[in-house]
Amino acid sequence: MKKRRLMAVMLAGTMVVGLLTACTDSSKVSSTSTESTSDSSKTEGTDTGAEIADFKIDASQIPQEKLDTTLYVACSIRGLENPYIATIADGMDMFCEYLDSIGQKYEKQVLDSGGSNDVEIDNMKQFAAKAGGNAIAYADPNESAIAPSLAEAMAESGGYLGTAWNKPDDVGPQDYDPNWVIHTSADNVANGKATAKALFDSMGGKGKIFVIEGMLGNTASNSRVEGLEEALAEYPDIEVAHQDTGNWATNEALTLVETWLNDTPDVGGVWCANDNMATGALQALDAKGLKGKVGVTGIDANPDIVEGVKDGSVIATVSSNGYLQGGYTLAVCYAVWTGLITTEELPENYRTFLTPAIMITKDTVDDYVTEYVDSIPEYDFSDIWYCKADK
């Protein structure tokens, strides 16, 4: 069942690449989304679904008293060292510009957990306590396990939370109605698989690869590796020469590849669970003069890796589009806070869904750069479901 779903995602992923090259004129990036289906796709197509899908925030309907209340806006993230995570904060800023435009009074802040579960929960509790109900927040739970605790923290004071990436399988937004509004995720398995396949194709379907995992025990890392393993199953001639964790860190990846290159100088490619580590791998290859000869893939679309895609040293990376994740999650929460929409109206597949990711390969990189690097994309945050991959 799961496998089939993934296959679908993969197919969609490759389609997107094609689509992207086809239509680049529109300033709206509607075509760059990866289509996918979610767990709850069964409910799709019902009447409510259609109605909900067309929902847009109408600023004129927001009661003046709501506009005059100070709304506390936050995004809770793992630390700003990572460029991808920084774009989430940027996404919040963009959404706040929208709030300005409709005259909403607000205060925004970034909650940095520094990679600690405990801190993230504390931060959320403190934020919720301060806001006393008038709060909306985006959270990237450090580990899937703490998502319910974050929701609980918000539920205690009556604010609204949207989470991304990580949550336990048996708990979901419905368990904390109405305060846990949505949970979204880019499809890690699909992304891991897509980059892996791009890498294998570039190697001609055979050869040795190095695998650098993210932090041990991290959901995103595990799922991406799962995607890789699925791809490996499809390419029997690809052999994993070495596999270890780089802890998401550039220098650790550098050390790993440096060491591995000694007993496997004939490596054909390096698959990394994120771009930070891909940077390290590139650097190690560069020192041996193998940059550009041995392909590297990552996930996150860090600026330097996107450049690498451009010059050919990187085969592929994926942008999870932090702007969109951060901004739209808050937009949905905002809609619920204002009362324009209620969580009861939302079917399950509008509570938990996948967000579009953008696959970046040599073919698509130029468009990506024009769209997201040279200019910051513009979003219409009143169209709150724009962030839904299957919309």
């Binding site: 070495h242 440096e258 060491t259 000694n262 007993d263 940077t279 600026p303």
Partner: protein, 339 residues
């Protein structure tokens, strides 16, 4: 009486033998870290054979050794005066981040070249100086001062690139990590140069001697009229310099400046310094001990990585080896006090 004399003689002989044995043991202990290193190399040679000893792996070991060596060198002096420095993660990361934004890079238009590097090192030297000054002038334990500065430096580093690390574009800087001289990577040469400097300072300057004195018993140099505070400040400043060079090396190796260059450098460095035989109580050990200590750590990690040991167990093995190395090299006995 004659018999008693005989016995007395044997007591003396026994005593002499004991002293000799103790001396021999102590001398042996001095070489124990080297023994551990040799044993590790031997084990990896047997298990991994040619690929471990291959030229390219040796060069990789040297490359990986540079950064921990630089960090540990600075820390050695701090530990020799009996203090501790937790600021490493911050200072190294900060310098790494700053290096990238001072030289030609993808983020801004600064192109200070070598001056940029000097400026970056200067930053950590200033931090080291501040740690030292606050430590001695306000009489705050170095543990706390350096803990505070670890946070401050991480903050500065993160602030400097605000989430989007700068990639180094300076062609010279980009060439350095790839270049090698006499088969040894240039980066290692940089580390070796700092090593030579530290060795020179330790052995051939009054300051070096005074460092030992301050670590052994502060009241003595004070009584001779040596300014102990100034020595301590100098030690932290020197440490700052070493961390600074480490930060630059880290940034050059990565080709990018980010705070992660410094992450998790501190505890392994402490372990390396102690394994090498420098006592945490101060006054004992030195730069050469640290060379061995860092080599042990580097070879261990390199070997375990090559053998593909389960990464979950890898840190555990490191811990056990640290423990064994220390248990075998320290003095035991009822009257020994260890804190």
């Amino acid at each position: 009486m004659g018999e008693k004399n005989q016995a007395a003689l044997s007591i003396r002989e026994e005593f002499a033998a004991k002293v000799k044995a103790d001396n021999r043991r102590e001398k042996l202990m001095k070489w124990a870290p080297v023994g551990v290193l040799a044993a590790l190399i031997l084990v990896f040679c047997i298990l991994k054979g040619s690929s471990f000893l291959s030229l390219s792996n040796l060069s990789a070991i040297l490359n990986q050794w540079s950064l921990p060596l630089l960090v540990a060198l600075g820390l050695t002096f701090v530990i020799m005066i009996g203090s501790i420095d937790l600021s490493i993660d911050g200072t190294v990361g900060m310098v790494g981040s700053l290096t990238a934004i001072f030289v030609a890079n993808s983020k801004n238009t600064a192109n200070l070249g070598i001056i940029g590097l000097l400026l970056a090192v200067l930053c950590s030297v200033v931090i080291g100086f501040l740690v030292g000054v606050i430590h001695v002038k306000f009489k705050i334990p170095s543990f706390m001062v350096s803990f505070a500065f670890m946070n401050i430096c991480i903050g500065i580093g993160m602030l400097s690139y605000s989430g989007k690390p700068a990639t180094i574009r300076d062609p010279l800087m980009m060439a350095i990590p790839k270049a090698s001289f006499l088969g040894i990577p240039v980066i290692t040469w940089i580390a070796l140069a700092v090593l030579a400097l530290c060795f020179y300072i330790q052995e051939y300057t009054p300051f070096g001697r005074h460092v030992y004195a301050v670590g052994t018993d502060e009241t003595i140099p004070k009584a001779v009229g040596i300014n102990v505070n100034r020595i301590k400040i100098k030690v932290f400043t020197l440490a700052g310099f070493c961390y600074g060079v480490a930060g630059i090396v880290g940034a050059l190796r990565l080709g990018q400046g980010q705070i992660a260059i410094g992450t998790d450098q501190m505890f392994p460095a402490q372990a390396a310094v102690v394994i090498g035989g420098t006592a945490l109580t101060g006054g004992k050990g030195g730069v050469m001990n640290t060379v061995v200590g860092t080599l042990i750590m580097t070879v261990l990690i390199n070997g375990l990585t090559m053998m593909g040991v389960n990464p979950n167990i890898k840190t555990g093995i490191q811990g056990v080896i640290i423990l064994i190395a220390v248990i075998f090299t320290i003095k035991h006995g009822a009257t020994v006090i260890s804190k």
